[in-house]
């Protein structure tokens, strides 16, 4: 799935700039978690992180785990510093008012695969 399709499906908006490279990436898997150590165990590539944990450690975790797309759910808003760290590491953040459950359901229905 492409990031544009995900955004449309979730009625979400991109809050980071510099994501041109990401536009062509096909995301295959998604993982929903507010626990960052669980995220750090993932080995699959091109994974989308669905989370409601909105702090700098979410971005740092994505950086270490090679996750390039974070979906912030439940209307959580990132701050300038989080977005700057994300952009520095070529990570795209999108924000949606949908819950983790709804985002997971929509993306599963659209063909993204679970990891476990």
């Amino acid at each position: 799935m492409k990031v544009d399709e995900i955004i449309e499906l979730l009625d979400a908006k991109i809050v980071t700039g510099r994501i041109c490279e990401l536009k062509t990436v096909g995301f295959k898997h998604a993982f929903s978690s507010d626990l960052m150590s669980d995220v750090l165990r993932l080995t699959a590539e091109n994974t989308v992180l669905i989370t409601g944990l909105c702090n700098l450690q979410t971005i740092r975790t994505a950086e270490m785990a090679e996750i390039k797309l974070i979906i912030m759910t439940r209307g959580k808003k990132t701050d300038d510093f989080m977005r700057a760290v994300a952009e520095e590491n070529d990570i795209c953040i999108i924000e949606t008012d949908y819950s983790i459950f709804r985002v997971s359901g929509e993306l599963y229905k659209a063909g993204l695969l679970p990891i476990y």
Binding site: L35, L40, Q57, E63
Partner: protein, 140 residues
């Protein structure tokens, strides 16, 4: 090449800065991406542990052609029962740590999983010393 970082206990804003620097350095050195991920995931977990549990810590990362060796030495309460701490799901993290997305009891198991050598020793009331090695070629 040696990199050294001072880690401040309780400073969650700075947590991850050392791991981030190490990742950038390894990329510049053209280290294989899968190896980089193992190294920085282990180091990040260790860095979070220092921030979450200790008063202060020093991270020393030595990179040569064969391996990346990481020493994480902290001053703090130490680990009461290392065998328990190595079990998945066991955690003594505070509520604040859990609110930051950690404290699921996966830190040390994640470090073990991502390193070729992991040695940990701890003295109660003094601190914890963690040594991690990831070999860069697969002959080890």
């Amino acid at each position: 090449m040696e990199l050294k970082f001072e880690i401040e206990g309780g400073n969650f804003t700075g947590a991850g800065n050392a791991s981030s620097e190490v990742k950038k350095t390894l990329k510049q050195l053209d280290v294989d991406n899968a190896k980089i991920k193992r190294i920085v995931v282990a180091l990040f977990e260790a860095e979070i542990n220092v921030v979450a549990h200790a008063d202060s810590g020093i991270i020393t990362v030595t990179i040569d052609d064969e391996k990346v060796e990481m020493l994480v030495d902290d001053k703090g309460p130490g680990i009461y029962d290392i065998t328990k701490a190595m079990q998945e799901g066991y955690s003594t993290a505070t509520r604040q740590v859990r609110e930051m997305g950690f404290g699921a009891g996966m830190g040390l198991p994640n470090i073990k999983r991502n390193t070729d050598v992991m040695n940990i020793s701890s003295v109660l009331g003094v601190g914890t010393n963690l040594k991690m090695i990831v070999y860069l070629n697969d002959t080890h």
